[in-house]
Structures are given as structure tokens and as C-alpha cells.
Symmetry: C2
Subunit: 248 residues, 2 copies
């Protein structure tokens, strides 16, 4: 994009980037201690830290106090921590997040039906069973709910879409964690998950997509109702969507 060489920050980022791209640095690997690494790169420790901080903010590095700095392991995250902040800044509406989720997850379900493997199906089945077993405990239920959707994302075979979904859903939970569902809803919810599972297992992509869409629409309206009952204040952040001119 830019000079890519002037700012120390970018020098660090590019250096690490090339180490990653060349395969010299893999997820889970550790980079040298700051003092040593700074000496090697011929920059100050402060500058090195700036660069590392940048990478950490993007989810590429994992800095552990007293231990060391590592290349991020685990599933990729795309702007997971930034979304809620950006939401506050740009006034994202929760229906927009739900819409994004609906689109992503329904396609994810369809892909899972097409590409899922037997172990995915088994995991889904497991979670559905657990959901039925915990309809009386919203807390427990939620765990399996989340896992169910996560397994579908993995089964889709597209880590990018999975990461995007993760970003959206985590922001959504963030927004209102308090909404405690009632048992009756949970039973219904479990039924729908079971339907989704069946559609995926029978590799019926269209059906999987449709049921997932239905499930999420239902979840949304349930949350909307609760939210309305809970806090009838008209959202303070209402901002008229200034029709921004089509910019390049």
C-alpha cells in the first residue's frame, strides 16, 4: 500500500510477514525475545513492540506476559475484537448483524451438506443430543448451540467464511449476553437444530440452507422481543444514514 519501509512498524510487520510466507514461521512458533529480536533487526525495542502490537491486534501474534510471543495458533480470526468497536463507531444496527449472520450461516450449512465428512456429522449429532439434554439449563444449552454452529462452519471447508461467521456471532453475543431464553423456546430451538442436522447428514444442501435461515430468523425475533421488553429506550445512537456519495 505505502512506503512499506519508512515506518519502523511496517518494517517489523513485513519482516515477520515474509518469515511467515517463506514458511519459516508457523502457527504456534515462537519469535525471539524482544530485546534479542530488536538487536537483530537493528531497531529499538520500543519500535519492535509497536510492530508486534500491530500484529497482535490483527490476531496474527499472541503475546503472553512472562512467557514469550508466539504466532497465533488455533482457528483464524478476522477482526473479531474490532467489530463491536466499529459497531459503536458506525452505529451498526443489530438487525444488520443478524442479517449478515443469516446469510453466512445459511450458506455455511449448505456447504456443510455438500462437503461435510462423517466425523462432522457425528459431532453435530452429539451436540444435538446434548441440546435436548440441557433444555432446562439455558447456560449449558448455549454452549452446545455455539458448538453446533461452529462444527457446521468447519464442515463447510471454507475457513474464511467460518472466521467471518465467528466474528459476527461473537459480536452478537457481546451485545446482549443477558437474554436468557425460556425452556419452551429451547425445545423448539433444539428441534430446529435437529432438522438442520438431518438435512446436512442427508446432503440436502437446499434444505439445510432453508432450515438454517428459518432458525436464525426465529432466534432474531425472539431476541428482538426480549430486547424490546427489557429496554424500551429508543436507541441513543440513531443516526440518519447519510447517503454517502459513491466514493472510489
Amino acid at each position: 500500500m505505502a512506503k512499506t519501509d519508512t515506518h519502523m512498524t511496517m518494517r517489523v510487520v513485513n519482516h515477520i510477514r515474509s518469515m511467515i510466507e517463506s514458511g519459516g514461521l508457523q502457527p504456534g512458533d515462537r519469535i525471539p525475545p524482544e530485546r534479542e529480536f530488536a538487536r537483530k533487526l537493528r531497531i529499538s525495542r520500543a519500535s519492535l513492540r509497536t510492530g508486534i502490537g500491530y500484529l497482535a491486534a490483527m490476531g496474527v501474534m499472541d503475546v503472553r506476559h512472562g512467557v514469550g510471543t508466539f504466532v497465533a495458533d488455533g482457528p483464524p480470526e478476522i477482526g473479531k475484537s474490532s467489530l463491536s468497536l466499529l459497531g459503536a463507531l458506525h452505529g451498526f444496527q443489530s438487525w444488520q448483524m443478524f442479517e449478515a449472520r443469516r446469510i453466512l450461516e445459511s450458506e455455511l450449512a449448505a456447504l456443510a451438506a455438500e462437503r461435510g465428512h462423517e466425523h462432522h456429522f457425528a459431532a453435530l449429532s452429539e451436540e444435538v443430543a446434548e441440546m435436548y439434554a440441557t433444555v432446562g439449563n439455558a447456560m449449558e444449552y448455549l454452549i452446545h448451540d455455539i458448538r453446533f454452529h461452529r462444527v457446521i462452519a468447519q464442515a463447510s471447508g471454507n475457513p474464511i467464511l467460518a472466521a467471518l461467521m465467528e466474528t459476527i456471532t461473537s459480536a452478537l453475543y457481546d451485545e446482549r449476553r443477558k437474554t436468557a431464553e425460556r425452556s419452551r423456546d429451547l425445545k423448539e430451538s433444539a428441534d430446529l437444530h435437529r432438522e438442520i442436522y438431518r438435512a446436512i447428514r442427508t446432503r440436502n444442501a437446499a434444505e439445510a440452507r432453508a432450515v438454517m435461515k428459518r432458525h436464525l430468523a426465529m432466534a432474531q425475533s425472539a431476541q428482538d422481543l426480549e430486547a424490546m421488553a427489557g429496554e424500551p429506550k429508543s436507541d441513543a445512537r440513531t443516526r440518519k444514514g447519510r447517503p454517502r456519495p459513491a466514493e472510489v
Copy 2:
């Protein structure tokens, strides 16, 4: 997520976050000079800078050397700069990016057909005309191509989906900017864009989605062919997708 109060970084982030959420800080606004702000927050300038750097990396703040630090203006960006890095790290395949783009943009087109306003249609029409006028110049053509898709994203009325699309497409351009199309392809491409435009203008969501999907599928296979011809090296980053256990 965490203590949210121990680390200086988070103290800064939370402070600014609350300023944003309370409406005291709007896009484009400027925060106090570092020295002054640090004094006010009773922390060192270095720590303040760490926090600001974090926010800047997430696209929330815009730091301008010699000028000041501002709350990001312009359209929201979700992990735009991180995707290519994450891609290198997790070995994202380009077909996966295309698939994500196909899904996002086809739904975006459908939404645009449902919700677009007259000025969006006018802008789309404008870009289509420009595309036809520049089929002989791939460089120029590309600009209008990008704008066309961007207008659709705006017309969808969902800034979150628009931001996600922007993230994917920018990473895609990043990956192979060199692929210069031939004029014949451009003419075909322009025709498809015209079809998309018409579907949207006539508020035919299903048609818009379908044509967009077709357009992107075509674009993908075109790039694949060029890529294959250009660099027949088998991707070095092949990694067996260790079936990670479904974690919470």
C-alpha cells in the same frame, strides 16, 4: 473478555471506547495530543501509544504523523489489512476467497435489488457506461468495476456485509494484481455487469443474485487460468487440515 483494567492498553482502549459509545467522540473527531492525553489519563505516553496503536490497527483510529490522531472516518473496515496476513498464516486458498466473495456479493446484489434507491441505480448505470467506454484499457476498466461492486454494497443497506465484502475483495486484488485481462473478456464482463444492473434496477432480487453469481464464477475461472499459465508451481503452503477438535 479479561480484566479489562489491568493492562494499560486496555485502559486506553476502554476509555476511548466509552467516549465513542457515549457519543463524545464521532468519526473524524480528533483526540488530544499524546503528551497531553497521557497526562490526563495518568499514564505514560508510551502506554497511551500502545493503546492508540491497537485501535489504529483495528481501523478505529487514524494516526497522522505531524498532524494528530483522529477517529477513523469513511466506511468501516473489518480486518481489511489482516486478511492477507492471516491468509498466508493459515494457508487460505484463493478458491476459498472467491467462494466467500461469491456468497457475499450475490446476496448483496439481491439486497440491493430490494432496497436500493434511485441514486444508487443512477450510480450503477454510470459505472456500466464507463466500463463499456474503457474496455480497451484494463486499468481504467478495473476502477469502474470496483466502483460498481462498491455501489451495490452500499445499496444493500447493510454496512457490515459491505465491509466484509471490501475485506475479501481487497485481499483478492492484493494476491494477484498482475492478471491483466484481455479486451474480449472485458466486453463480456461489461455485458454481465449490465445484466446485473438491470436486474437490480427492476428490483428482481433473484435474478440479480443469479447473475452476480455467474459473473463471479466466470471471473474466478478466468483468473485461475491465467494463474495456472503464469506460475505452475504447486502451492508451497499445502497443509493437511488437522481436524481440530470442536472446542467451545
